[in-house]
Amino acid sequence: MNDRPHSHDHDHGQEPPSDLALRVKALESLLVDKGLVDAAALDAIVETYEHKVGPRNGAKVVVRAWTDPAYRARLLEDATAAIAELGFGGHQGEHMIAVENTPAVHNLVVCTLCSCYPWPVLGLPPVWYKSSPYRSRAAIDPRGVLAEFGLSLGDEVEIRVWDSTAEVRYLVLPERPAGTAGFDEEALAALVSRDAMIGVAKVERGG
């Protein structure tokens, strides 16, 4: 069961406004009339998370760690400060920890109690991360969850699951794929997926 009420394969733009859309519109209009919110501020918040803050930020952090050993050391020592060096931080990323994948250790991040996620580096979480199936099984069956994402890890690999129960947020530092020695930072960043920084995928060199 997906925790969304219906399929999202179709185009919402072609539908009449839903009951929820109308309720939210009425609420916004009321709150603007009351002077509780500024409509332009709402636009700016939506714009921030649709276009400015997202997993490309996290990819820059990962690539810097791959290419600059001193930065990698700072990231693993004090991720909040190291991430701030690149200009990222703030809401839902006030207390950051980076956890490093190696051939022997694989890290996976979840929030079993709600939807805690490192917004400044990954943006807003995808629906599956917030969904009941992921929240319920990531801690008890990480190997099964990873297999659902197409990632099968052998028993020799230690899996560490990070359940975000406080205001500390976790970023997975994935392994740099082999065969990328000649890649520049931009080409490397293009390989780093959001899913790899949550820990449900590895970074692949690609075709």
Binding site: M1, D3, R4, P5, H12, S18, A21, R23, V24, K25, L27, E28, L30, L31, D33, K34, G35, L36, V37, D38, A40, A41, L42, D43, I45, V46, G54, G89, G90, H91, Q92, E94, H95, T112, L113, C114, L124, P126, V127, W128, S131, S132, P133, R135, S136, R137, I140, P142, R143, F149, E158, R160, V161, W162, D163, S164, T165, A166, E167, V168
Partner: protein, 219 residues
């Protein structure tokens, strides 16, 4: 509270359904709910802990059925009514109560970048007891509070090892209920997968939780 939101370890909730090329918002109203929640939050009438708890109070059957931003919408409305920012009649009518004064929004467009960039750190520079040290064996207490808590059921009564001292952080169990921040020391605790889930779990796997001093005891 032992609500359905405390999902870790449950079975039967279905397959995970990643969506290729997923948009940030699936419909414009979702973005508006997120923005309204942050913008009304700037009034400072409630804490992030209170807003989490408000969503936990959604009846379990509704919680499982509702989409994410629908839960946020319900939570926002309930908090605004509770704290007197709006009345139920205003929500129902979609109009200001007669004679209501117009307020001035605390969060303007010009301040959005600075407010989001600053965030709301949860650590506090105050003294708090440090009952445990890195390397100590600890047991998560078997507590079942009816209010807000961030100690998941699956860890209660289980033994782990303190791996990290995060310093002193706001305590959600009191802050969610308007009983003050009461900052406590927060620890990163490693539980072996076997201590949580039994012998069938892989021997080297582990689950790491961030737990406040009050949640822990000596085994």
């Amino acid at each position: 509270m032992n609500g359905v939101h405390d999902m870790g370890g449950q079975h039967g909730l279905g397959p995970i359904a990643p969506e290729a090329g997923e948009p940030v918002f699936h419909a414009p109203w979702e973005g508006r709910v997120l923005a309204l929640t942050l913008a009304v939050g700037a009034w400072g009438r409630w804490s992030i802990d209170a807003s989490r708890h408000q969503r936990e109070l959604i009846p379990g059957s509704d919680y499982l059925r509702m989409s994410y931003y629908e839960k946020w919408l319900i939570g926002l409305i309930e908090l605004m009514v509770k704290t007197g920012l709006v009345t139920r009649a205003e929500i129902a009518d979609g109009r200001l109560a007669v004679g209501a004064l117009r307020a001035t929004p605390p969060l303007t467009k010009a301040r959005v970048a600075a407010v989001l960039g600053a965030g709301g750190p949860a650590n506090r520079d105050v003294a708090a007891s440090r009952r445990f040290a890195v390397g100590d064996k600890v047991r998560a207490r078997n507590i079942n509070p009816v209010g807000h808590t961030r100690l998941p059921r699956y860890a209660r009564g289980r033994q782990g090892v303190v791996e990290r001292d995060h310093g002193v952080h706001v305590f959600p169990d009191t802050n969610a209920h308007g009983l003050g921040e009461q900052p406590r020391r927060l620890y990163g605790v490693r539980f072996s997968a076997r201590s949580l889930w039994g012998e069938a779990a892989a021997s080297r796997d582990s689950v790491h939780l961030d737990l406040w001093d009050d949640y822990l005891e000596r085994p």
